[in-house]
């Protein structure tokens, strides 16, 4: 029998095949040995434009294209490398300085090695993705060099060599090869003069030493950056963790926080049910109190104090251990702000020995008292402590430097520690080392958290960039967008390339033979009009109604046919799926789709022909639906009304034309539909929303632009038909795709969510809230009326809304059919179909509906466009749910900022006249704490915390400055009754009734609203200061 062993000598190709052997362990603990072949080759180009050899050997891909060469022939020089240089970073350099590599001022012409990329992927997936994004972008000139596959640069691991040493050797090998390769092959004429140096960047001392031995230019990241222009700023961007760790190992061995459990202990604990996993949620009113909602408990577990929260940051996914019952407490009734308590901490030293400072302890102590006190009503809730973090959700944070934390000699270039106060109150201060403290003081800056070690009270992070001066419009808008993770960069070219080439001249093809007309109904004869808010450019929907010969009515809803223009999986579709939704700020709109589509080609503008997706019903005169039908169509809108215009036209008896008549029909139907919906138990919820209508007149009082949303009949006309269309489409899509239909549900809120509100209502107003069904809730909400206080009902609705879960997109297969219900709308099934220009979910539903009705599209692909795997769809749902929520928050924050600015402008104007009195308004008490209340001011749609000092006691002048008022706080005491929800504020030593103010829940109070420059956390945000003037 012949030997079957590979005989490599016979085959000339075989010399180039080697194998890579590595061992990995699987999740279940098995060890696997993996053997992979490696085919070594010589046709991997160096990608330098200087090279004359590589272009001849560069291979073509399957489409016959050769990848363009990336590295510049005139790379930037530094003082150390005047002839220019290419950078070869090793893994540590990327781990510590990714922000630097992304910086636009430096770090061009970088050679990223395969070795480094693989190592980075094992160390940190987010960094790996960021690096890939850099490689993909053209402007930074990052070249991915697959050194392991090039014969000359392939490195075999030696028998005694550690993997790190091997990788370092591979990096040096590449540097050596590159220099000699460029020497040999540089284009003639340029030789000698401008062959760039190859600079290895590494933070490994051993590697630096070996580089020196082997004559490879190498620098540590900080040394390299020091040689660049603007190095102070760049140096700050190096990740903090490594340096700090080095320093600390020598100096301190003392720990503030308990150690986390090991992963295996966590998993066994979770499995055994002794530990619980959930998301760490910090209370917006008290930074020391957090809650974790777990599957095992009805109510969220409380986590009190810094040592129990053990370095967890809001949003992290944590594992908690429940504390013994004698340590259970009731949730806090006090407002605690971080900056007020820890104002004087010094960022440079960790002077105190315990993690909980005395002041913090005091703040907590009172909690304990409460828990063990007479209070039988506020039963102590289970508390827990964090014992492990499954997944950090650290992101980049926007904030500003705490001016108290900068040293006295702020002018120097010395590196110092400063505290950064993030805008988000739930995030602790971040310690940042910087050389430019004086420059970034008073600016909005972006930082990231690098680590939070046991021996550090606060997390450490590093500076990324400055957004600009505090309180400037540009900086604040960008801060807002970053904070809510809104993608606001302009659309890249690859996205714009997907737009129709005709641009604004795009038209519906004239000839019906054109493929654009395939499968489309011609609905141009119908009298269709659109009704939108004034100034609306992205018109998603239009309507029509007409009498049929049989006495019934035909009603149609026509939605912009966005899916015709946005094909699945092209760059535009991917970008839209990432953005998820259009974000509306007061003075800015961040589009989901490029301008051309959103406001022109897709938008159902009047007088022009547009592609649409139409839903048509035949309805009896009593608004009973006889039949419904879906079709792609071509329409011509006759008019674009604003809500007011439409209302006027309907009300104007002299208008008797067909269009107006059809609008009247629609209005009539909408009222019937609304009534039906209400009868089914739909909730009429309220949100504290205001609208900003800026007419751009600078002279007037900017506050007049702040308007509470008016509800006209026409608003509800449009709303009713959109709901109807959404519901009709949802059933159709679900029928066709029982597993993958994209739907929207609103879960029935668990009754315990309402417990607090129910208790408050019964105590204060003797009212019942029946939450057994949405119908019962709707009815009981209707009964919550205070004849003396017309706003009371709205207030209760706002509070009730907050008790509910939020609606979410989901994929039909993820829930049982009974779970599809939309609680708020009282509909068994629901989806979003009517706004594809501004929501990605609608676009997906359009595709699904198109394939459900068998629409084939121009090229016959539309049928399968809608079909998508459930996994992918669930990813999309997850993303758009987050984006949707962020967009709402960003919109609200924008309005809040605008109101603050408007108040400020007004304040300044008044100040010029000599008085800064603020505005007298009505407010309502929403929540009562032990040391303050939360007041809602409907006029501006804002709610604010009123602290002790901001109560104007009888016989006291309201006109005091912020500083003066702060002095008042220590002189005041309160009597707080948590069962009666009342708070009585009085001056110390003056318990007389005449000199105190008592407020209670739901009470209407007179407040004085003004805008003050807030210090501490919200700096630049213009805190809206509310003074209670009259209870």
């Amino acid at each position: 029998m012949k030997s079957l062993r590979r005989d490599l000598s016979a085959n000339p190709q075989a010399a180039n095949v080697t194998s890579k052997v590595f061992v990995r362990s699987t999740k279940s603990g098995k060890v696997q040995k993996i053997v992979r072949e490696l085919y070594l080759r010589e046709d991997i180009p160096c990608s330098s434009k200087l090279c004359s050899q590589c272009p001849t050997i560069a291979p073509a891909d399957a489409n016959g294209k050769i990848a363009p060469f990336i590295l510049s022939d005139r790379p930037a020089g530094t003082t150390a490398f005047p002839r220019g240089h290419y950078i070869v970073p090793d893994t540590n350099a990327l781990l510590n300085g990714m922000d630097l590599f992304e910086h636009t001022g430096a770090f061009y012409d970088v050679i990223v090695l395969q070795t480094v990329l693989e190592e980075l992927r094992n160390r940190s997936i987010p960094l790996y993705n960021r690096l890939l994004a850099l490689v993909k972008s053209d402007e930074k000139r990052f070249y991915l060099f697959f050194n392991e596959f090039r014969r000359e640069t392939h490195v075999r691991r030696g028998p005694e060599e550690t993997i790190n040493d091997r990788n370092d050797r591979a990096v040096r090998m590449v540097a050596t090869w590159y220099s000699s390769h460029l020497q040999q092959s540089a284009k003639k004429g340029k030789k000698e003069k401008a062959i760039p140096a190859i600079v290895v960047i590494t933070d490994d001392k051993e590697n630096l030493r070996k580089c020196k031995e082997e004559n490879v230019a190498a620098l540590s990241l900080s040394d390299y950056v020091s040689g660049l222009e603007g190095s102070e700023m760049l140096l700050d961007m190096i990740s903090e963790s490594k340096d700090a760790r080095d320093a600390k190992e020598t100096t301190r061995g003392e720990f503030f926080y308990p150690e986390y459990f090991t992963m295996s202990k966590l998993t066994t604990g979770l499995r055994a049910g002794t530990l619980h996993q959930g998301v760490f949620n910090v209370s917006p009113y008290n930074y020391l109190e957090a809650s974790v909602k777990t599957a095992a408990f009805d109510k969220p577990l409380l986590i009190l104090g810094r040592d129990n929260s053990n370095r967890a940051i809001a949003g992290d996914s944590v594992v908690v251990e429940v504390l013994p019952q004698d340590q259970w407490k009731s949730p806090s009734t006090k407002i605690v702000d971080e900056e007020a308590v820890t104002r004087n901490d010094n960022p440079d030293t960790e002077e105190t020995d315990a993690v909980v400072t005395d002041r913090e302890r005091k703040a907590l102590q009172e909690e304990v008292k409460k828990a063990h006190g007479k209070n039988s009503d506020g039963k102590p809730q289970p508390t827990a402590k964090v014992v492990g973090v499954i997944k950090r959700s650290w992101r980049q944070y926007v904030g500003h430097v705490d001016s108290n934390s900068t040293g006295s000699q702020a002018s120097g270039r010395r590196q110092q520690n400063v505290f950064l106060l993030p805008m988000d109150k739930r995030i602790p201060k971040i310690r940042v080392r910087t050389r430019q403290a004086s420059d970034i003081l008073g600016q909005r800056i972006l930082v990231t958290i690098d680590s939070w070690d046991r021996d550090s009270r606060y997390p450490t992070g590093h500076f990324i960039r400055s957004l600009g001066e505090l309180e400037t419009k540009g900086a604040e808008t960008e801060a807002l967008l970053l904070e809510y993770d809104v993608q606001y960069k302009p659309f890249p070219k690859s996205v714009l390339d997907c737009l129709p080439s005709e641009g604004h001249n795009w038209k519906v093809p004239v000839s019906k033979e054109d493929k654009g007309w395939t499968g489309r109904k011609d609905l141009r004869d119908l009298l269709i009009c659109s009704i939108d808010p004034p100034g609306c450019q992205d018109i998603d929907d239009a309507l029509h109604a007409r009498l049929l010969p049989n006495g019934n009515f035909e009603v149609g809803v026509h939605i912009a046919d966005v899916s015709h223009f946005v094909k699945p999986n092209n760059p535009m579709d991917l970008e839209a799926s990432i953005r998820g939704t259009t974000v509306y700020l007061v003075d800015k709109r961040i589009d989901m789709l490029p301008h051309l589509l959103g406001t022109d080609i897709c938008s159902l503008k009047p007088y022009v022909e547009r592609y649409a997706f139409s839903v048509q019903w035949e309805m009896t005169p009593d608004a009973e639906i006889v039949s419904s039908n879906f079709s792609k169509s071509v329409i011509r809108s006759r008019e674009a009304f604003s809500y007011e215009q439409a209302q006027l036209r309907i009300d104007d008896k002299s208008q008797q034309d067909e269009l107006t008549e059809s609008m009247r029909t629609l209005l009539k139907f909408s009222k019937v539909l609304r009534q039906k919906r209400m009868d089914a138990g739909a909730l009429n919820l309220a949100s504290p929303e205001v609208r900003i209508e800026s007419e751009g007149d600078e002279v007037g009082d900017p506050l007049t632009d702040v308007k509470t949303k008016a509800m006209l009949d026409t608003n509800s006309l449009v709303e009713e038909f959109m709901l109807l269309a959404n519901i009709t489409v949802a059933s159709k899509v679900y029928e066709s795709f029982p597993q993958t239909a994209l739907l929207r549900r609103h879960a029935t809120p668990p009754p315990q969510n309402f417990e607090d509100l129910q208790k408050q209502l019964s105590k204060k107003r003797d009212m019942e809230l029946d939450v057994s069904s949405s119908r019962a809730l709707a009815d009981s909400l209707d009964r919550c009326i205070d004849p003396k206080n017309p706003f009371f009902n709205t207030l209760v609705r706002i509070l009730a809304t907050r008790c509910m879960t939020s609606a979410e997109y989901f994929c039909a297969g993820a829930f049982g059919e009974s779970e599809f219900r939309h609680y708020g709308l009282a509909s068994p099934i629901y989806t979003h179909f009517t706004s594809p220009i501004r929501r990605y979910a609608d676009l997906m539903v359009h595709r699904q509906l198109a394939s459900a009705i068998g629409y084939e599209g121009e090229d016959g692909h539309a049928v399968i466009e809608g079909v998508s795997t459930r996994n992918k769809l669930e990813d999309i749902c997850r993303n758009i749910n987050v984006r949707h929520r962020n967009a709402q928050h960003a919109g609200r924050a924008s309005i809040e900022y605008y109101v603050g600015q408007a108040l400020k402008a007004r304040g300044e104007k008044m100040a010029a006249d000599g008085v800064d009195a603020g505005i007298e308004e009505e407010g309502y008490v929403m929540r009562v704490f032990e040391n303050g209340v939360v007041i809602f001011v409907p006029r501006f749609g804002i709610e604010g915390v009123v602290r002790l000092e901001d109560f104007v006691l009888p016989g006291e002048s309201g006109a005091r400055s912020v500083a003066e008022r702060r002095e008042l706080a220590p002189h005041r005491t309160t009597e707080f009754d948590s069962e009666e929800y009342t708070l009585c504020v009085e001056e110390k030593g003056h318990p007389e009734k005449e000199r105190s103010v008592t407020v209670e829940l739901f009470q209407k109070v007179r407040v004085n609203v003004s805008s003050v420059k807030e210090e501490g956390r919200g700096a630049g945000k213009r805190r809206v200061r509310i003074l209670v003037t009259e209870a």
Partner: protein, 265 residues
């Protein structure tokens, strides 16, 4: 863990193991490796290696009346994937699992129609395939190994039957966009690629020119004998994948011819 194809391939045009899109793995083969059988072969494509032996044509078993009565030889195939062939060692040796049954069925029906079985009525040709190590393209490698072993056994067939896999990188589950007409087909997938990307196996044969037929009408005589795909891919990509696969088959055919001619000399 090494990188995956889908993220880095578009950037470097290099696959996991350093190959370009149209390159086969190293193919090595020997025939007449087992003198105790009528014909035998050993073939490795990359790290996939397969041993194959053929017994027969031998007298048909009694009672095996179904096909035996029809005047054709019956092809029997037995596939055994060794317990140590994959990454995880399988304890249960010898038993047939879904994968080996599937390969066996495809090979049986392929060669049943491919071989000139009418020359051996009432007889049985049994093929035994042992997979020694599996690293993707198992079916294709098995077809190639069988072809070699059958040639070694001297069983007549119209031409060499050569198999190969072809896959498609990128998002192959959605239709291709006519405006971004870039396709990234890959030839001869290894195991990690096979797990990640949609792929098909194709086997072709080209009748050996007989008599006056010239060598130049090679293309026309080419015939696809096996085409199987287990993953989902959008129909628009299929043509490209098939073309790449067929091209791979003809490359393999040259290699196998080299093996056969080489062993003769």
């Amino acid at each position: 863990m090494p990188l995956d194809t889908s993220t880095t391939y578009p950037l470097t045009r290099l696959r996991l193991d350093g190959r370009r899109w149209n390159e086969l793995r190293l193919l090595q083969a020997q025939i007449s490796t087992n003198p105790a059988s009528s014909g035998s072969s050993y073939l490795s494509m990359g790290n996939t290696s397969i041993m194959c032996s053929v017994h027969g044509p031998a007298e048909g078993r009694r009672g095996d009346s179904g096909a035996a009565g029809s005047g054709h030889a019956v092809v029997e195939v037995d596939v055994n994937v060794a317990g140590f062939a994959g990454v995880d060692r399988k304890r249960r040796a010898g038993g047939s699992d879904r994968q080996s049954t599937r390969i066996g069925t495809i090979i049986r029906s392929t060669f049943q129609s491919h071989l000139h079985t009418y020359l051996y009525p009432h007889s049985t040709i049994s093929i035994h395939i042992s997979v020694l190590s599996a690293d993707g393209s198992l079916l294709a490698a098995a077809i190639n190994a069988c072809t070699l072993a059958l040639v070694d056994a001297g069983i007549p067939m119209p031409g060499l039957l050569c198999g190969c896999t072809a896959g498609m990188s990128g998002s192959a589950s959605t239709p291709r966009d006519p405006r971004h007409d870039e396709l990234d087909p890959l030839l001869d997938l290894s195991l990690p690629e096979e797990q990640e990307l949609p792929s098909l196996t194709v086997a072709t044969t080209t009748a050996v020119p007989v008599g006056e037929n010239n060598m130049d009408d090679d293309e026309e005589a080419m015939k696809v004998c096996v085409l199987t795909m287990e993953s989902k891919v959008h129909a628009t990509y299929l043509e490209t994948m098939l073309a790449v696969g067929i091209d791979g088959c003809s490359q393999i055919r040259e290699l196998l011819e080299g093996v056969i001619k080489g062993s003769r000399g």
